[in-house]
Subunit: 279 residues, 2 copies
């Protein structure tokens, strides 16, 4: 397994692979790899001849520097996981190389980024759009793999890829959950035992909502109320709970199959995201 | 010669070429091809296995719709020229395909775009950066060819390509001039005979400035004054005349070899650009 820090070396490597007719898959990550990343890498492994994993904690997508500085960076175990999963190349640029003095370019995706995470985290999606464009460009990826857990991010990146005519296939993989149902996230490490127990109200209430929907309840406000109640009862701070259209992320009054329930709430000060596509 | 309107067809064509080890060159144009474009295409032909010319009058880079609507579009003669010059593929998307309903993405290059053309044409460089990124992405170009006449545009695109890690080599080709010295531009067609005669003060005074510089004058203000005088004497409306650093485009007080004299002036209502790199 190669470990590469220079975007030009990355590009010349993948370029050579592509000249040999090989399909290159990219799994962009911020490291602290868990079973969710593992599922992305395995999916990439099954669909591509060559798998590139990028590990880069992107400073420009954090609105709070304390969040950035406390982001976990267990590089040795990350590299071990990549090696075990048969990754061909890990791209691990440093921040000075990604954003050198004089760096001037930013990418903005309008509208889709106005609400939800975009409202609560100013500049977050500009940072995501810019870094993902850089990673796709340097890796020359034919396919790129993202987790459904970050639903709004997937919607924004889908728009970006379409709008910029980027010649890459976006593959969105299902959220991976811990045995207790909590959606995997690198941030889960920060949860105390109690905060984690409380956080289980998120996946539990999402499952209950699907049952209410199955039973015939389609009014979004009513469906969401039950989540709000469950999260409040468990001491979570709610940022939003909403049922939205899966493409434009606009709230819907009457829920239907394919709409998405999106939730952001903090437990013990740790911001957690989850979502569920109504079936 | 293929003519393609669909970005996916373009990408799959160039992808096939690249899999065969062929180097793909892109010459992005807004059509109304003249000898300046011809020199770019010939340069691409000499450096690449496959040459793609894009012809697209990009609505989002025009700050005035009248300028956009009156931009010349002689498509038949453009295609003839491409055919004659051995172009492999002309990419001719339509505006609805480039910017469909829901299009949301914009690219901004900060600082370099604050002054000069950027100051006079709000949004212009965002439009240029966005469309060039799209054209580079859809064409999967290995090399891209631009004219030095649009000096600030070249500086902005160089920054963009570096910042986004785009895996493309940028080739800047010298300005091509008419027999009388006027820098070629599709906009020259709009000049009356008299406006055109007056406009010659631009290349003439740029040549004179080089002579003053050769004679030992290095004070930017003094050097530029002679241009301002010549343009004013010929009824041109001056937008800016400045000597700047070639990378960050900041004005320099004392001129030195490698600095660039940039000029924008209107003759009979037609905005003309020219520049000269001090030798």
């Amino acid at each position: 397994m190669k470990v590469v820090e220079d975007p030009d070396v990355l590009a010349s490597t993948t370029r050579k692979w592509q000249t040999n007719g090989q399909v290159v898959g990219l799994v962009p990550t911020m490291g602290a790899l868990h079973a969710g990343h593992q599922s992305l890498i395995e999916r990439a492994r099954s669909m591509c001849d060559r798998v590139v994993v990028s590990i880069f904690v992107n400073p420009i997508q954090f609105s709070e520097s304390s969040d950035f500085l406390s982001y976990p960076t267990p590089i040795d175990s990350d590299l071990d996981m990549c090696q075990t999963l048969g990754v061909d190349l890990v791209y691990r640029p440093d921040a000075k190389r990604m954003y050198p003095e004089g760096f001037s370019t930013s990418i903005h995706v309008a509208r889709l980024t106005d609400a939800w995470e975009g409202r609560d985290r100013p500049g977050h999606f500009d940072g995501v759009a810019t870094v993902v464009t850089k990673l796709l460009a340097a890796s020359r990826a034919d396919k790129a793999f993202f987790g459904q857990k970050d639903f709004q991010q997937c919607a924004v990146l889908r728009r970006l890829i379409t709008d910029l005519d980027l010649d890459v296939e976006m593959v969105v993989c299902p959220t991976v959950r811990d045995h207790d149902g909590l959606a995997l996230s690198s941030r889960n490490e920060r949860l105390s035992a109690e905060s984690r127990r409380n956080a289980l109200a998120i996946p539990t209430s999402l499952r209950s909502l699907q049952k209410h929907f199955d039973d015939g309840q389609t009014e979004s406000a009513t469906l969401c109320d039950s989540i709000v109640q469950a999260l409040t009862d468990n001491d979570l701070v709610i940022h939003y709970v909403e049922i939205v259209d899966s493409t434009d992320l606009a709230p819907v009054g009457t829920a239907q199959v394919g709409n998405v329930v999106i939730v952001a709430a903090s437990s013990g000060g740790v911001r957690l995201l989850d979502n569920h596509i109504l079936t």
